[in-house]
């Protein structure tokens, strides 16, 4: 199958179907509506189940149930809807369920606006659910990568028994780009733990996030943490672009990273050696690689479509080596390459 | 003439609900005009026949219509 021109949301839905998604549970919210709409049209045709839940809360709990019963499942939403899913995500993480959550984010806080934003970085990477838990967060930079990452998300969810979020800004959800969706089947990890009815099993299965004994709960938390450390070791991913000789390192993720690339071209034309470091996994964050990459630069510039949220992880990575600056737009406003160029120049100062 | 109906033309969205509500069939959309907000506004083709029943105004979602009654 060659490239087709597809809307991000639809491509994401199709990628999930190609990955063998057995159940989708979602609720309408702009700018992700085409995900449930596409699913309602095509998922049942390929043997899966589509349910329009009564709310985001119900959706995440349906996903929790279906995953607990051993099915490969997904939900999707946008900013306030993801906020409503936080308790459920914490439950999924606690019960170690493989679920995929697509977040197509828009401006906030509150009802905010519906235009693209990256103001949900904290929401995705630090959760808001209770307790010590982590979900893997993947951040695509366009429609093609979004579909690849959705497929990858199902693999990761399965093999680590962990919720995986694919977080994209509203641009990716709404735009059309040429895309080729991989159709290779993804084998399912055996889920002997699933609650499907005991059948011929010798014991009953139980899916649960409660541990009343504190020592048991502590052990459980340590287990979750060890799993996370394992994931950090194996699955951290990023892209470096013209970093080798860079004197200025720009860090960006998602669609804005493409704007930064174009700014970097302009900067290089003007003789300023800039490079891009783009985390592809926001959790686990590529701390070590970014630390390395920042060693030889004058400063790091973090660019986000927010008031500055990822900058915290960048600072943690850089750990005081060089100054870390910030440039951001928010509320649905998207920066132009020239703004990045200007920001870099202003920090280079009298040079 | 028992009544008079007038329209705030530039807020009319040309939906036609008033047209279909009028028992005297004296309202129509003016296809020859496009108002400021891009629609063909409604108008009265025969004021004389208006009975000031207010049906049109009741059905107008955009409060475009004022109806007056002849005081006798």
């Amino acid at each position: 199958m060659g490239k087709v021109l597809m809307k991000g949301n639809e491509a994401i839905a199709q990628a999930a179907i190609s990955a063998g998604c057995e159940g989708f549970f979602g609720y309408p919210i702009t700018p992700q509506n085409e995900v449930p709409e596409y699913m309602s049209k095509y998922l049942a045709k390929s043997g899966g189940v589509f349910v329009q839940a009564e709310s985001e809360l119900a959706a995440i709990n349906m996903v929790y149930g279906a995953a607990a019963a051993g099915a490969r499942v997904m939900t999707s939403s946008s900013s306030p809807g993801i906020a409503l899913k936080q308790e459920g995500i914490s439950y999924c993480a606690g019960a170690q369920l493989p679920v995929v959550i697509v977040s197509i984010s828009r401006g906030g806080p509150g009802l905010g606006g519906i235009l693209p934003s990256q103001g949900d970085y904290n929401q995705a990477t630090r959760g808001g659910g209770n307790g010590d838990y982590r979900v893997i967060v993947l951040a695509p930079n366009g429609v093609q990568e979004a579909t690849d990452m959705v497929r990858h998300a199902f693999k990761l969810a399965d093999s680590y028994r962990i919720p995986v979020m694919v977080m994209a800004d509203g641009i990716i959800g709404q735009m059309m780009e040429p895309v080729e969706i991989d159709t290779t089947p993804i084998p399912k990890a055996p889920n002997l733990w699933a609650a499907t009815g005991q059948g011929k099993r010798a014991h009953t299965n139980m899916v649960n996030s409660m541990h009343l004994d504190p020592y048991e709960l502590e052990d459980h938390n340590i287990l979750l943490n060890n799993k996370y450390l394992e994931i950090a070791k194996n699955e951290t991913d990023y892209e470096k672009y013209l970093c080798d000789d860079a004197e200025v390192l720009i860090v960006a993720y998602g669609t804005p990273s493409r704007i930064v690339k174009s700014a970097i071209k302009t900067l290089r034309e003007e003789g300023i050696k800039a490079g891009l470091f783009r985390p592809k996994t926001l959790v686990p964050y590529p701390f070590d690689a970014l630390h390395e990459a920042s060693k030889s630069v004058k400063f790091v510039l973090v660019t986000e479509l927010s008031m500055g949220q990822m900058i915290v992880d960048v600072k943690l990575a850089v750990n005081g080596l060089v100054p870390v600056h910030f440039y951001g737009r928010t509320g649905g406003v998207i920066f132009e390459p020239q703004e990045i160029v200007d920001a870099v120049k202003s920090h280079l100062g009298g040079k | 003439m028992k009544g008079r109906v007038s329209f705030d033309n530039d807020t009319c969205k040309g939906c036609g609900l008033c047209v279909s509500a009028c028992p005297m069939k004296i309202l129509a959309l003016d296809l020859s005009k496009v108002n400021k907000i891009g629609y063909n506004p409604a108008y009265c083709i025969d004021q004389e026949k208006c009975i000031a029943c207010t049906n049109c105004a009741l059905m107008c979602p955009d409060s475009v219509i004022t109806v007056e009654r002849l005081d006798i």
């Binding site: 700018p31 235009l115 709404q174 735009m175 059309m176 780009e177 040429p178 174009s262 | 891009g38």
Partner: protein, 179 residues
């Protein structure tokens, strides 16, 4: 090649979104990188719509065209009023002369006009005005030729409705030929 940053704008029923999609589709077929981005959300209500198409040899930086429009298709006056301030110098402007008055457009903008309504009327269906616009656009842009347009129309409508395909192709061709 200079990056094409195009905006198509008009009333809801004028088919600007699908017209933009077909431009992107043609670009893709020709091996370019391309993106299409609609306006979305409540502002869609009230009947105006627009989309943004970017075409480039390099990777698309931003699919959002907020400034430096190189090509504007304005299917009504509101569209022109809204996007004219964002045209870059030397930009191309394609307008539906039936509905749009270009007297206030600065002289550094190249204007291509045609009466898409009339063409559509001639062909026999007012709905195909967007394909007439596509014709004018294809005639203007170096990267496309007439066959590209005819093919894309075929591809888009062919299976479902051969009659519609023909109608659309006719409108396209008419506009292409007079441009």
């Amino acid at each position: 090649m200079k990056t094409v940053k195009m905006v198509c704008a008009g009333f809801g029923g004028q088919g600007v979104l699908s017209m933009g999609q077909m431009v992107a589709l043609m670009a893709m077929k020709k091996g370019f990188n391309t993106s299409w981005m609609p306006s979305y959300g409540p502002e869609m209500r009230g009947g105006t719509a627009n989309c943004q198409v970017v075409i480039d040899e390099a990777e698309i930086a931003s699919p959002i065209v907020s400034e430096g429009i190189t090509l504007l298709l304005a299917m009504n006056q509101m569209a022109l009023t809204k996007f004219q301030p964002k045209l870059e110098k030397g930009a191309w402007l394609i307008v539906n002369s039936a509905l749009v008055d270009t007297k206030d457009v600065p002289s550094d903008v190249h204007i291509l006009k045609a009466d898409f309504n009339a063409i559509a009327q001639e062909v026999g269906n007012p709905k195909v005005q967007n394909m007439a616009a596509l014709g004018t656009l294809a005639a203007h842009m170096d990267i496309f030729n007439k066959q590209d347009g005819l093919d894309i129309i075929e591809e888009k409508f062919g299976k479902k409705n051969p009659e519609l395909t023909l109608l659309n192709q006719k409108a396209f061709e008419k506009a292409y030929d007079i441009s």
